[in-house]
Amino acid sequence: MNFLQLTYRPKENFIYRSNGVVKIFILLNLFIQSFIFDHPFYLGVIFFNILILVLFSNCWEEILIYFRFMLIISLFTFFINIILYPEGTTIIFQILNDFPILGGFKITFETIVSSLLIILRLTLIFLIFGTFNLIINTDELIQVLVKLRFPHSIVFIITLSLNFFPLILKDLERIREIQQCKGLELEKGNFFRKFNNNVKLILPLLTNSLERSIQNAEALEARAFDIKGKREFYRKLRITISDYFIMIFVISLLIFQIYITFQGFGEFIIYPTLSGIFLANLEYYALLISFISNILVIGLLYLEDKIER
């Protein structure tokens, strides 16, 4: 796997061409939505909205790699949640024997649903961060932070970590290769063996990163860098009227979503007993509005790109 595929690489489409701040707003909106709603239908709509964004960005191949990571984490989360949080009233499997210390063991329908919802939400967060990594140019993010008057030291640390992320991934890939050449088995064997062997890559990564940081510090001195010194920023953020318009639209959409959650929309009760899955009529309308509005935002980006070009 090429880890570098998971970072920003410019592509020729309207999503990549659009203003970074607007894209940050759109992703932030989706991120907040994935936290304020509990109902699987609402979360499902957010999921589709992200997929549409990914599709238009033409980065679905990269997102599939994130999905592979997600699959492992999901399985892990699912079983841990079922074992450690056996709440709920609808028991589908039970061992009554009292084990010493551990006690009995049961699996409830509510726990399974709750675990699936956790996985769905985690997937959403993963997808949003993945898309963020893929479509936002780090320079744009920095410009946003500068515009928001973040202290230079913080902006620089963020710049450095973002720009060095691909290098660290490259390092990790290299260490993987080196360790395999030294006979460390990372491809064959059971899951635990592979997991254990993969852990052995972390320490070398730290050693290499520390060594790199010394060389970086030296190079920074040669570039007259002073964390406390006064400095100028050559590129400043440019936001057009149409950008402002889309951002206002996104904010309004977010306010609408927050409002409807206060009205009890998007709620889903799991414990102690699962509530019905179906929504009231009005809630379906709200769901539809959410779905269409999120797509409309993408449409607006497309329109803006058409006008500007």
């Binding site: 710049t159 080196i178 395999q180 050449c181 460390l184 190079a219 040669a222 007259a224 050559y234 590129r235």
Partner: protein, 576 residues
């Protein structure tokens, strides 16, 4: 411009002094080359000039360093950086921003110039270095040569009066290296910037420099015009003399030749053009016996005859590789290697050489075609399984060590390959002895010198006794002496019926050991032949050794000579 008096420096925690009694004056506009064996103090000296010593690296220091009338010890690096620009060896560790333009202005933003001034300087730098086409490109999309050019640009934008470059071409192919050196030469000649360059591969740079400084054990042992230095009969110079100059120094020992062709022994030519002019008549007059076919190399068919009875250890059949769909990196690769071969791979950066190497042990898997190693199809074998037969050494040895001692490095490999403890002990003993590592077994591997690290990396692979040894740029960063030792180990290993395959940009090393060379271009093997045939071929002109470049100016001479010794032998046997 630069005045160093009685400079001594001692790093904390080190037993010996890194710099001893350095006295040095460098004038404005000079192009100075500093060279010397690894650990001789070159890097420490340049860091003392730009204030990184003592401001960044602590230690015990005495003497004085004055640059542009500033006392370097008292000035902040931020102030010094505006006058003394420094470009480091690895471009990746000195670039901080996402795209070329942001990188070029980073230093200017740091010194708080106005946006107008930044824009002017940015445009000047782009024009000067011809960076317009890559102005908006992401740093991650640049090749090694392009990255180094941007790193130089980022320093130049600050308009320094002195430019210091620490092995700036060590990671580049000959073509990119030449480009970078031309840029630096223009800066020196046209803008009058003082240039101080550290370099091991003297043949690459000697024609550009006005002054040569050779260091040894923290001291300057030679300082002067390159010609004067090379003329001195001095053992310490032997590792630094480029091949054509070595040849000239031998020629001037023949009084008869000197008087007949009116060659002045004191005027050593700097480059091949000058050389050809001085020796024109002499070379044109050279007549060698027609029957002497020694200098007309055989073709590959003849070379392969010696393997008629052997089975290939490596077989690539119609191999194609791509990282992403429709982006073929390697295609139509057909290749066989036999026990006892020493094969080198050459080509520009980014033509698929490293990709080819990684196919040998499964680090990359072919999209089509088959690869057999030691008779086994490696399709379903893991890298760890294939590594029993194929040892792989990466470019930078230090990143390959993760244990606390050299001994543990070797033990871990033996353990990973499940080698029985009695046998493991024997192998550890044998290879630490053979590679001179006995006294280093308890040392932290990253503290070792470059040559020692490379030997340790070699030992970690050899202890498992692979049949094939693959190396990516193993001589990168090695001095001439270390290279000699290293190649001797490799030669000894392949003579036991093993195969050595290496990628290298080090042209002069190519003339010494590999019998067979593959030339890669655009993901294909374009030439696969005897070293002499490949290195003297017109399409490998960027990789042609100095001696062959010289020979090619004289059609009457056998055009496949690539070594100084061969040319000398030819002269000895010719009628003059």
């Amino acid at each position: 411009m630069i005045e160093i008096c009685n400079l001594n420096f001692h790093y904390f925690g080190k037993n010996s002094e890194a710099l001893k009694d350095i006295n040095l004056k460098i004038s404005k506009g000079e192009f100075v080359l500093i060279t010397g064996l690894s650990g001789s103090g070159k890097s420490t000296l340049i860091r003392a000039i730009n204030g990184l010593i003592p401001n960044f690296y602590g230690g015990r220091i005495s003497g004085s360093v004055k640059v542009l009338d500033m006392n370097v010890f008292e000035k902040k690096p931020r102030i010094l950086a505006q006058k003394i620009g420094m470009v480091f060896q690895n471009p990746e560790n000195q670039l901080f921003m996402n795209n070329v333009e942001s990188e070029l202005v980073f230093g200017l933003e740091n010194i708080n110039l106005s946006r107008n001034e930044i824009e002017n300087r940015l445009n000047d730098t782009i024009e000067l270095l011809g960076l317009e086409s890559m102005r908006k490109r992401a740093i991650s999309s640049l090749s090694g040569g392009e990255k180094q050019k941007v790193a130089i640009g980022a320093i130049l934008a600050m308009q320094p009066e002195i430019l210091i470059l620490d092995e700036p071409t060590s990671e580049l192919d000959p073509k990119s290296a030449e480009e970078i050196l031309h840029v630096v030469q223009n800066l020196n000649k046209k803008l009058g910037i003082t240039v101080i360059l550290i370099e091991h591969r003297i043949d690459r740079v000697i024609e550009y420099v006005d002054r040569l400084i050779i260091m040894n054990d923290g001291q300057i042992i030679q300082d002067g015009k390159p010609n004067q230095i090379f003329l001195k009969e001095n053992n310490s110079n032997q590792f630094f003399i480029p091949p054509i100059i070595k040849f000239f120094l031998e020629i001037i020992k023949h009084k008869k030749i000197l008087s007949k062709y009116q060659i002045s022994p004191n005027h050593i030519p700097n480059n091949i053009q000058e050389f050809s002019l001085i020796l024109k008549e002499f070379f044109e007059d050279l007549k060698f016996s027609e029957g002497n076919t020694k200098y007309f190399q055989q073709n590959k068919g003849q070379y392969m005859q010696k393997f008629l009875d052997s089975t290939p250890l490596v077989e690539f059949k119609d191999v194609r590789f791509e990282y992403e769909k429709n982006n073929t990196i390697l295609s139509n690769i057909n290749f066989e290697a036999y026990p006892g071969e020493f094969i080198a791979i050459i080509g520009d950066n980014g033509v698929g050489k490293t990709t080819f190497l990684k196919l040998f042990n499964g680090l990359l898997r072919p999209r089509n075609g088959t690869i057999k190693i030691n008779g086994k199809n490696m399709k379903n074998l893991s890298v760890a399984q294939i590594s029993r037969d194929v040892g792989y050494i990466f470019q930078n040895p230090s990143i390959q060590f993760y244990q606390d001692t050299v001994k543990e490095e070797l033990e871990v490999v033996l353990k990973n390959f499940k080698i029985h403890s009695e046998n493991a002990k024997k192998l550890l003993e044998e290879y630490s002895e053979r590679l001179d590592l006995k006294s280093l077994l308890s040392i932290y591997p990253r503290y070792l010198s470059y040559g020692e690290q490379q030997r340790t990396a070699l030992a970690t692979m050899l202890v498992i006794q692979p049949k094939i040894l693959i190396m990516d740029e193993p001589t990168h960063g090695m001095d001439a002496l270390q290279k000699d030792h290293f190649f001797n180990y490799l030669d000894e290993y392949r003579k036991k019926g093993n195969i050595v395959i290496l990628v290298t940009h080090d042209i002069e090393s190519l003339t010494k050991y590999p019998e067979r060379i593959l030339f890669f271009s655009e993901g294909k093997i374009i030439l696969d032949d005897f070293s002499e045939n490949v290195l003297s071929h017109p399409i490998t002109s960027k990789f042609t050794p100095q001696i062959n470049r010289l020979i090619k100016n004289f059609p009457n001479l056998p055009n496949k000579i690539i070594r100084t010794e061969e040319l000398l032998e030819l002269v000895e046997n010719a009628e003059i």
